[in-house]
């Protein structure tokens, strides 16, 4: 049986693996890091933390995921626009998590990281989402 982490990864990928995100970020959607040589722009998601919570007999799972757009354009607008598409897909998304009933998915914070790699500018723009689910 797959772990909760694996099930969450799959659920988040499924929500991001939609036409709107692929159109905006044709490089693809990846977990943790994009393979070497992936043509930007692309989307990367990753678990930030997972904390199980107990309330009486019920078991709740709370997880934080970061989802970001990675772009190599001179200006951050491309990554910011993709981030908007990410948010449309993720905010209040209906995640299907094996063994759990989703309670909600909400964006809690934003981040922006610019890299200058030998004069080549990379933009990482994204957000951190809280996923709360109830064990069935």
């Amino acid at each position: 049986m797959a772990s909760l982490r694996t099930n969450l990864d799959k659920a988040v990928f499924d929500v991001l693996n939609v036409a709107a995100v692929h159109t905006a970020a044709p490089g693809g959607v990846f977990n943790m890091v994009a393979p070497n040589g992936t043509k930007p722009p692309y989307v990367v998601f990753q678990a930030v933390s997972k904390v199980d919570e107990y309330s009486f007999a019920a078991r709740f799972a709370q997880a934080l995921y970061q989802v970001k757009a990675v772009s190599r354009s001179p200006w951050p607008k491309e990554a910011a626009d993709i981030d908007d598409d990410i948010d449309t897909a993720m905010q209040n998304a209906v995640l299907v998590i094996t063994g759990y009933t989703l309670l909600y998915v909400r964006r809690e914070s934003d981040f922006y990281l610019m890299e200058d790699v030998g004069g080549m500018i990379w933009h990482n723009i994204g957000g951190t989402y809280r996923i709360v689910a109830d064990e069935t």
Partner: protein, 118 residues
């Protein structure tokens, strides 16, 4: 359609005294939580040279009712959020998350205690 007005009022007498009663306990809660977050972050940060771990520090602000915890190295954000070709190694958000429930419970307890002693 006839217009209508709604009025909302609150009697805040005693609120200032309540805040003053709760303040020492809330200051203690903030301080404990902040240093717990700092400790958690130092425990889980991805270590290469140890510079980022050593740079994580806490600054208590706003008369002890707020705190800022974080690293100062230039590449700490790249560790936390990842780069175009490196995965993220989050350490500040998980540290905060680990303390979140205890912090909320401690705040509620401090406010209840201040209310009970009024």
């Amino acid at each position: 359609m006839a217009g209508w007005d709604a009025e909302v009022s609150a009697d805040l007498r005693g609120l200032e005294q309540f805040i003053q009663r709760a303040k020492p306990a809330l200051q203690q809660v903030v301080k404990v939580a902040a240093f717990n977050v700092e400790r958690h972050a130092k425990e889980i940060v991805h270590v290469d040279t140890g510079a980022t771990r050593a740079s994580i520090h806490t600054s208590v602000q706003d008369d002890g009712l707020a705190a800022s915890i974080g690293p100062t190295t230039s590449y700490a954000r790249a560790l936390e959020f990842g780069t175009h070709n490196r995965q993220a190694y989050p350490f500040m958000r998980p540290a905060l998350e680990q303390e979140r429930q205890a912090f909320q419970a401690a705040i509620i307890a401090a406010l209840k205690q201040a209310g009970a002693s009024g």
